[in-house]
């Protein structure tokens, strides 16, 4: 990213500044650009990490590791690339590293908790409240529970699309697969989620 592009930023609205320009700004020493970038992607990245590792403490550690990596690597970020795929590639690598460290003999493709009965995690997340249990909330809890029963690669593809709004092509690049494979994973993920929700609909 050229310095000139960053120089005109103060005159532009915050929404108009691209992620890539913010990374360039931060690389040039503007910490406010980083803060803006963090604000934009904090929650989506947090939810992606949480869905993948399902442990808040671990997700918080990963969150720090990923953003620390961004602070280190920002000067080497190439302006012709998009920031979001880059960010999620870093996050995915950190997840894989952690998984390998914790489960050195377990395949990355193995479902984390395939034996867990459907809906087992729902009560863990929110205490049942007879008064507040609206149909919509129940539906949301059911989706999250169903998500946990997806194979990891399908869950990952779905979460990347739903949380980060990434394209199929970007998901394919982040996960190191072909476009067709990423597309298939997304389709299977949705089909299974719908089937699970239908099976356990009240």
């Amino acid at each position: 990213m050229a310095d000139g592009a960053w120089a005109i930023m103060p005159r532009m609205s915050a929404a108009a500044i691209s992620d890539e320009a913010l990374v360039a700004g931060y690389a040039a020493g503007d910490v406010a650009a980083f803060e803006q970038l963090y604000e934009r992607h904090e929650l989506a990245l947090w939810r992606y990490l949480l869905r993948q590792c399902r442990d808040r403490a671990a997700a918080e550690e990963l969150m720090q590791e990923v953003w620390f990596a961004v602070t280190r690597e920002a000067p080497r970020f190439r302006s012709e690339g998009r920031f979001l795929p880059w960010l999620y590639t870093i996050a995915r690598h950190r997840l894989i590293d952690r998984h390998r460290a914790e489960h050195p003999t377990q395949s990355l493709d193995a479902p984390i908790d395939a034996e867990e009965p459907f809906g087992a995690g729902i009560e863990d997340v929110h205490s049942p409240s007879p008064q507040a249990a609206s149909e919509q909330m129940e539906q949301g809890k059911a989706i999250l529970a169903a998500l946990r029963h997806l194979p990891p690669e399908q869950r990952e593809a779905f979460v990347l699309q739903a949380e980060a709004d990434l394209s199929v092509d970007e998901i394919a690049r982040i996960t190191g697969t072909t476009f067709e494979t990423a597309k298939s994973r997304l389709r299977y993920a949705r089909d299974k989620l719908k089937a699970l929700l239908r099976e356990h609909a009240p």
Partner: protein
């Protein structure tokens, strides 16, 4: 948008709502740590990394340094005692032959050279001095009258000057060129020779290159530049001795004159290296 897309969007929207409600936010300490690290990393980075002004300054600095090194290399830093002497050995008998004088033998070599230069020469030496009155004229004049003696003294003086020029030319190892051309040629050749000698020293004498004592080493290259013999000059031996040994070993193959350089090794010690090529 087809029904499948609507369904997908509904599912995605439902998921997003549920996910946002359930996941909440990371702890405030996490956010604080990340932003603090971002500020620290920005401070750690040198401003030069993304500022083209610093890049140009860096390039300019390197260029100036390179130029300074080049200029330094153009100047002959050798001390008179370390001066490399290119032996000018001629096939013709009686020609001036200069071996690098060993420190002890250096004093003796000069009279010998003058004596040899005075000797009659059937063929001209590498460099032929300008015509000077032969010494026999001076000898003959010395037997004559006072006027003749003055003439003889003048003749001898001219002859000595001629010998000095010849020795100087022989030290250069080439016929005396025009002053400007000689200056340019000498600088370039000397520079190349220094680089060659240094590279050969590092490559073939790594032990001596790292040694904390002075050494004298030699090597012989064939016509392609490959090193066919090398070794260290033993105490009491001269490069001339080595020449004879090598020529015997190589079955009568003659060596070109030694090019002898005095270099500094990695520990600042003087390493004298003699380099000769087979003819």
């Amino acid at each position: 948008m087809n029904p499948s897309d609507e369904e997908r969007d509904a599912l995605t929207d439902e998921y997003r709502r549920a996910s946002a409600a359930e996941a909440g936010r990371p702890a405030a300490t996490v956010r604080k740590a990340i932003l603090a690290e971002a500020a620290a990393a920005a401070n750690r980075r040198t401003p030069a990394s993304n500022d083209s002004r610093y890049l140009w300054r860096g390039i300019a600095g390197v260029a100036v340094l390179g130029f300074a090194i080049l200029m330094w290399k153009q100047v002959d830093h050798r001390l008179p005692g370390e001066a490399s002497v290119v032996a000018a050995r001629s096939e013709a008998p009686g020609q001036v032959l200069l071996e690098t004088p060993a420190p002890a033998a250096a004093a003796e070599s000069k009279p010998a050279l003058i004596k040899e230069a005075r000797a009659p020469r059937p063929t001209p030496a590498v460099s032929q001095p300008p015509a000077a009155p032969p010494l026999v004229v001076a000898d003959r004049a010395a037997d004559a009258t006072p006027a003749g003696m003055a003439l003889a003294a003048q003749a001898e003086s001219s002859a000595k000057a001629a010998v000095s020029r010849e020795v100087a030319n022989a030290m250069q190892g080439v016929p005396a060129p025009a002053p400007a051309a000689r200056a340019l040629g000498k600088m370039s050749a000397a520079q190349d020779a220094e680089v060659d000698a240094d590279a050969l020293l590092r490559l073939h004498f790594p032990q001596q290159y790292q040694s904390s004592a002075p050494h004298s080493v030699w090597l012989v290259q064939d016509a392609t530049g490959a090193v066919v013999r090398s070794g260290e000059l033993a105490a009491g031996k001269t490069f001339g001795d080595i020449r004879l040994e090598i020529e015997r070993e190589l079955g009568g193959t003659l060596l070109r004159p030694w090019r002898i350089r005095s270099l500094q090794n990695a520990r600042g010690q003087i390493i004298q290296i003699g380099i000769a090529q087979t003819r």
